[in-house]
């Protein structure tokens, strides 16, 4: 019989179904409560601190009935997530652990040394607070006060209530209906919302003096093909005489009827502009602006201009 047969190593073939849990005596995992920040203020205030550490009363290792004060509890170092940053390249996020938080972690060294906090358990809205060493307590300290969320200290699927937006009259906005498309407004901007989307539908803005000059020459060269109504619109605010001269230079001599229509169009457009200026612009919210552009008075101005344009272009 060979030497190797004398002592054949036995391997354990027993299949165990039990899984290691935090409650196992030999488990490297632990769960505990962060003690009051007052008992660890040198560290939590950052005055003398190193690392991100919290004193954690480990369940099992300490007792609700022991005489160990919070200041004598062990420090656990906080580990962070991979997107939080270690501080290298100036990338960092701060820890958001508070006193009274329930945290979980692992021991890095033998004999329950080197505790590391890996996770924090979110608080429930129905957590029971008390004066016991392991009881839940508020995360607020003398230095931190409740903000917009008030005393809602929980994080669960039915989340905390947040403050809503209100208008100046104090009423809540929104009724669950979508807004209508401001068709007229868009048409006025030269956009037809009924057309399918297309490339180069909106011209590029002018980017330089050269572009501006070439644009002027383009206008003069192509203005002969322009409609009279468009030329009138482009002369808005420059006076009737200037408009007549500009149009005659492109289209030739104007009749009295044309001059009347041009004068009338410029007057109505002036009224429409004044109306819009009064009801939109700085200090007016989007709702008010929308209401003005969709109002019957403004629509009447646009309708009149539309009729005049047809007359002019014919």
């Amino acid at each position: 019989m060979g030497q190797g047969n004398k002592k054949r190593k036995r391997y354990n073939t027993t299949i165990t179904t039990s899984k290691s849990s935090v409650s196992d005596k030999e488990s490297p995992f632990w769960i505990g409560k962060v003690v009051s920040f007052e008992a660890q203020k040198e560290q939590t205030s950052g005055v003398k601190a190193w690392g991100i550490r919290y004193k954690v009363r480990l369940m099992g290792d300490y007792s609700d009935k022991d005489d160990v004060e919070d200041k004598d509890i062990i420090y656990a170092t906080s580990a962070l997530g991979v997107t939080d940053g270690s501080g290298a390249k100036n990338m960092l996020k701060s820890s958001k652990i508070s006193q009274g938080d329930t945290v979980m972690g692992i021991f890095l060294s033998a004999d329950e040394q080197g505790p590391i906090i890996q996770n924090v358990l979110p608080r429930s809205a129905v957590e029971k607070r008390g004066g016991g060493k392991f009881d839940a307590k508020s995360g607020f300290t003398d230095q931190t006060k409740a903000g917009l969320l008030g005393n809602q200290e929980f994080n669960e699927q039915d989340n905390v209530a947040t403050p809503g937006l209100k208008d100046c009259k104090g009423s809540q906005k929104g009724g669950g209906k979508g807004r209508g498309i401001p068709l007229k407004g868009l048409q006025q901007m030269g956009i037809d919302p009924n057309l399918p989307s297309q490339v180069n539908a909106i011209k590029k803005p002018l980017s330089s003096i050269t572009d501006a000059l070439s644009s002027v020459s383009d206008v003069s060269s192509s203005s002969s093909s322009q409609k009279i109504s468009d030329i009138v619109s482009s002369m808005k605010g420059q006076g009737n005489s200037a408009a007549y001269t500009e149009i005659e230079s492109v289209k030739g001599a104007l009749t009295n009827r044309d001059r009347f229509l041009i004068k009338d169009k410029m007057r109505i457009e002036e009224l429409a502009t004044t109306f819009l200026d009064d009801n939109t612009g700085p200090g007016k919210d989007f709702e008010t602006t929308l209401e003005a552009t969709e109002s019957s008075q403004y629509q009447a101005f646009l309708d009149q201009v539309e009729v005049i344009d047809e007359e002019l272009n014919n």
């Binding site: 300490y62 007792s63 022991d66 004598d72 033998a110």
Partner: protein
């Protein structure tokens, strides 16, 4: 007493049955003398065992004591046994044993044999106590003394602790006192010598002793083995009764695997992210200072390659009330060397039986002289390789109607009749 091997005297073997009424008040203790019924008694000590244990067998020919007392476990048992070399006295305050269980060895119509496994009373005290508090800014020996005195309630004259030079902060973590002390043993560094302690109980009390101090002791007795042992002979008291049995004499693979000769030790400081890697070789950084035999003589080949890696994350001020950047009991001082010290101590293991000697306790050093196979009747008759000083690892005093024997398991680190130069 003519011979140490002869029967010893049971001066006292009493079962103390305590009956209490009304939530522990009105306690009454009744004493039952059973020494006339005892047929066999064995008492055990070990460097591995923090408490003493014993086994008592009695035979009942009349009324069943087990039923009449009744014995249900947790009864105290006081005993005092006298032999030619010393007295085993567990009848004084602070020293007694408890009946752990009451199995029957055999039963006939008119008699029954009962086995009583006994445990030290401190074992129950230990199990009933959980420690949560922090031991801060104390040397390890101070912490051990406090735990023995305050938690195990051992009398001061039954606590024997060797001084340590290292301070170690630790917390109870809900552990029992003995469990805590056992964890401290490997982290303790004596004032002089190599790290590594044993915590064990003997008939004299609790001992927290450094391996270095134990192996430096003077020999308490010399036992010889000549191959000639006749019970009726005079002067047999210091003779080994049967051929010594070497249960272990080196185990190179086990030693290599456990890092006895060379180990790589990694230390990480979480405060400043410092990474320290140190190689300890038993003949260099890990040099053993004191040995039982000659100086350590390890083949250079065994130190060539790293065979074991130990990893340790340093504890930086985790148990300070405020903020501290001091490393708590740096394992650089003890981790690798204590492993080497413990492992080398168990290089040779020897089992012998000698006539009863109650003055011997676990942790004593004795000299064993073993004759050569082809011994001549002169000094050269002693095997100088195997003979020499040994440390008592386990001990059993066994008493029966006819004889009293002490069985010993001995260990030592190096060979040779004489101790090395260090």
């Amino acid at each position: 007493m003519a011979s140490a091997l002869g029967s010893s005297k049971y001066a006292k073997i009493d079962i103390l049955k305590t009956i209490s009424k009304r939530n522990g008040r009105d306690k009454k203790t009744k004493i039952h003398d059973i020494k006339g019924k005892v047929t066999n008694f064995r008492y055990y000590e070990s460097l591995y065992s923090p408490v003493t244990t014993a086994l008592l067998v009695y035979v009942d020919a009349g009324d069943s004591l087990k039923s009449t007392i009744p014995i249900k476990g947790n009864e105290r048992l006081n005993f005092k046994i006298e032999s030619k070399y010393g007295t085993l006295d567990f009848s004084k305050q602070g020293a007694s044993m408890l009946i752990n269980s009451v199995p029957e060895a055999g039963k006939e119509s008119n008699r029954e044999a009962v086995v009583l496994p006994l445990i030290s009373t401190y074992e129950l005290k230990d199990k009933k106590k959980q420690i949560f508090k922090k031991y801060n800014n104390l040397t390890v020996d101070d912490s051990v003394r406090r735990i023995c005195k305050n938690e195990l309630k051992a009398p001061k004259d039954r606590i024997f602790v060797d001084s340590c030079k290292n301070v170690y902060d630790f917390r109870g973590s809900g552990k029992n006192p003995i469990e805590l002390i056992l964890k401290l043993a490997k982290k303790a560094v004596p004032v002089k010598g190599d790290p590594g302690y044993f915590f064990y109980e003997t008939q004299k009390g609790f001992n927290f002793k450094s391996v270095s101090v134990l192996v430096s002791q003077k020999s308490k007795a010399t036992y010889t083995y000549t191959g000639m042992f006749r019970a009726q002979d005079e002067g047999n008291d210091y003779k080994i009764m049967m051929a010594p049995k070497f249960t272990k004499d080196q185990d190179i693979m086990q030693a290599v695997t456990s890092g006895t000769y060379v180990s790589r030790n990694i230390f990480f400081n979480p405060q400043n992210a410092e990474y320290i890697e140190k190689i300890y070789k038993i003949n260099e950084q890990g040099k053993i200072e004191k040995t039982l035999g000659k100086d350590l003589d390890i083949d250079e080949e065994l130190e060539e390659s790293i065979t074991r890696t130990n990893m340790h994350v340093l504890d930086v001020g985790s148990l300070q009330s405020g903020v501290s950047d001091a490393v708590n009991n740096s394992p650089l001082e003890w981790q690798a060397k204590s492993t080497m010290r413990y492992n080398t101590l168990h290089t040779q293991m020897l089992e012998i039986q000698v006539p009863c000697n109650l003055s011997l306790v676990a942790g004593d050093v004795i000299t064993v002289e073993i004759e050569n196979l082809n011994a001549e009747k002169c000094n050269e008759g002693i095997n100088k390789h195997q003979s020499g000083k040994y440390l008592i690892l386990h001990l059993c005093h066994s008493f029966s109607a006819n004889e009293s024997i002490t069985s010993l398991t001995l260990v030592r680190d190096t060979y040779g009749l004489h101790t090395g130069t260090k």
